[in-house]
């Protein structure tokens, strides 16, 4: 099931799945395990919180896949790779994390009491704030694609426009009446 979904998605977006059969098997097994324990297939190589709203951006295929494959030749967990990586022309190296720290720490900060350690204060503060995730409507000024998420996508899934092309749709109260 996870394999078919990944294969279909790779085909749609012109990617390849990891060429190492053992590594690929481990990734798909990890996705399956996450789907079983959380109810959704979050990235096997990232710590999930188990709360859908906090993990939405790392549900496979994650929000970071397209820019990561474009820049590094593979997504963070390396399930999806570019053609030159698949064919062995470009070596596959670990991909550095593009997900912002304030989103990463959501998987750790389930408790909200003040920590004794000062050094991670900023991270914990971010966690507290994240308990109220604000979803917004964004539209692609190039093709009109509309998405209801915390942030606009890095790359428009329809026309491949960059994130900067997206604008927020603000609904005015007088427009509703």
């Amino acid at each position: 099931m996870v394999r078919q979904r990944a294969e279909a998605d790779a085909k749609t977006y012109g990617y390849h799945l990891n060429p190492d059969p053992e590594f690929l098997r481990n990734l798909l097994e990890g996705l399956k395990q996450n789907e079983e324990r959380y109810g959704y297939p979050s990235c096997p190589c990232r710590l999930a919180s188990g709360k859908f709203a906090f993990d939405r951006d790392v549900i496979c295929p994650c929000d970071y896949r397209d820019p990561d494959v474009e820049e590094f030749g593979a997504c963070y967990c390396a399930l999806f790779v570019r053609k030159d990586v698949f064919e062995g022309e470009t070596p596959l190296l670990p991909v550095s994390e593009r997900r912002p720290l304030e989103k990463q720490v959501r998987a750790y900060g389930v408790r909200t009491e003040a920590p004794a350690e000062k050094k991670v204060e900023s991270a914990v503060t971010a966690t507290k704030e994240s308990s109220e995730i604000r979803l917004k409507l964004w539209y692609c000024k190039q093709c009109g694609y509309v998405v209801f998420r915390e942030d606009p996508p890095y790359i428009c899934p329809i026309c491949k426009a960059k994130r900067e092309i997206f604008a927020e749709i603000r609904i005015r109260a007088d427009a509703l009446g």
């Binding site: 990890g30 996705l31 350690e117 991670v120």
Partner: protein, 94 residues
């Protein structure tokens, strides 16, 4: 926190691995250390309770690391983010 010790002949260095039970890079890193007969300890962070996860976050960030797995700490001072064979070979002399 369930810390698992993997014995090995090469025990010159103290090697500790923060890993995820589902992560393919972590599995490769553990296998690489085993194949190199390196003695190490690991903990699968996703299987820890919330209190331990907080401690782990504080430990990794406090050492200047990032919350990526595997995070490998050698001799309590060198931190390697991700499965980097080159860095492991250099640090462990293997």
């Amino acid at each position: 926190m369930k810390i698992v010790k993997v014995p090995g002949e090469n025990n010159k260095h103290k090697v500790f691995v923060y890993a995820l039970s589902t992560c393919a890079w972590c599995k490769s890193a553990k296998q690489f250390l085993k194949d190199s007969s390196v003695e190490f300890e690991y903990v699968d962070v996703d299987l820890c309770n919330e209190k331990d996860k907080e401690k782990i976050r504080e430990d990794i960030l406090g050492r200047g690391g990032s919350l990526s797995y595997p995070t490998i700490i050698v001799d309590d001072k060198v931190l390697i983010t991700g499965f980097r064979k080159d860095k492991l070979r250099e640090t462990l002399g293997i």
